[in-house]
Symmetry: C2
């Protein structure tokens, strides 16, 4: 039995959310997804390490069909991940069609199976407009679908909805989160590249300019 299922990518947002909920006494079950992205291979070991550290049961669900059937530069089957600012038009190539719809739906079914009333997501106000399945309106519609499709048993919860990524970094620091055990870079190399849109944001969120970011970057 768990109070909530958390969708844990192994990135900083969901890892801070896990620490935050644990600090409030929530009994968690964590679920992660290998959907064939270039950086899943870096994120998932981080998710596993954080769950081991916090003593949270963790399931990794394999979704090989996404890599086989869908097209996106974020996927191992896709082209190169663009560099530069996150908002740039070119970053649209990193959209994985309806990815969050799929991940949330699976988490809702899992939550109902283990008796959890909430599915927790680390979505925040800085999530990007280029990803339609990260927007507030999508989240609200998906929550309605979750409630209807489980007879009210499971709802979605976005505790960080009004925070931005830097707020999350600051909260994580207060909670003692070890950010070296989180992964952000879209390229999936051994070290964070430091130049993709995702790394760009991580540096800002973790206050690299103030010397507070423990991440090793290539550039």
């Amino acid at each position: 039995m768990a109070d909530a299922v958390i969708i844990l990518s192994g990135g900083m947002d969901s890892t801070v959310l896990m620490a935050h909920e644990l600090s409030r006494g929530t009994r968690l079950a964590a679920i992660s997804f290998d959907y064939g992205s270039k950086h899943n291979g870096r994120e998932l070991p981080m998710a596993a390490a954080s769950c081991a550290f916090y003593g949270v049961p963790h399931r990794v669900v394999q979704l090989p069909f996404i890599n086989e059937l869908f097209s996106s530069s974020l996927l191992r089957s896709g082209g190169d991940v663009p560099e530069g600012a996150y908002d740039a038009e070119s970053m649209k190539s990193t959209v994985v069609p309806f990815r969050n719809g799929i991940l949330i739906a699976i988490a809702v079914g899992y939550a109902e199976s283990v008796g959890a009333e909430r599915v927790l997501l680390g979505s925040h106000s800085g999530d990007h407009h280029i990803y339609p399945d990260c927007r507030t309106e999508f989240n609200a519609a998906m929550n309605e679908a979750a409630l209807r499709g489980t007879d009210g048993a499971v709802r979605l919860d976005f505790p960080f909805a009004t925070m931005d990524k830097r707020d999350i970094g600051d909260l994580g620091r207060l909670l003692g989160v070890d950010f070296s055990r989180t992964w952000t870079c879209y390229k999936g190399g051994v070290t964070h590249c430091g130049v993709c849109g995702a790394c760009d944001e991580r540096k800002f969120a973790l206050r690299r300019d103030e010397g507070l970011d423990p991440t090793a970057y290539l550039e």
Copy 2:
């Protein structure tokens, strides 16, 4: 390129829907799911055979995690499928938590990937109240989520929403559907059992009492 992605179980509703859409000139791509149900092993070859007959490209997506993580008597990992009338309280054990939410979400992502504007489902007015993720309110909420999460690119379509299963059987007969190439029984034996709730309904829908049902039943 396809106009629509059809969720094809290999049962009579979705097979008739495929024939119906093809008769209207819709270019289809079919997607089926092996989610570990006892009858997937019987349904999926029927789905493949119908797609081969109609010349529709067909993808089967494996979802082994449902059988591993979820609980339902419909699953190979679950207990026995109950016998008797479909509406009975006992049939609730056949609910697979949020199954349709998961299957629809994957089909929406696939549709966006292949440029299809619609995801077609054979849902009908006789779909059972015990399955919350088959109800009209769920379908409406999920359609909203699909539209929001794809920036309006993909919508759900339920052409049989106001028909019942017997209407679908009658339409299929008009369209020349070979019902011996469809599977309904929940038990997944070699022959339709004839006594589970699903078989009970199939017999009525295909007018067995009028000698019009080509299905071989055990009982």
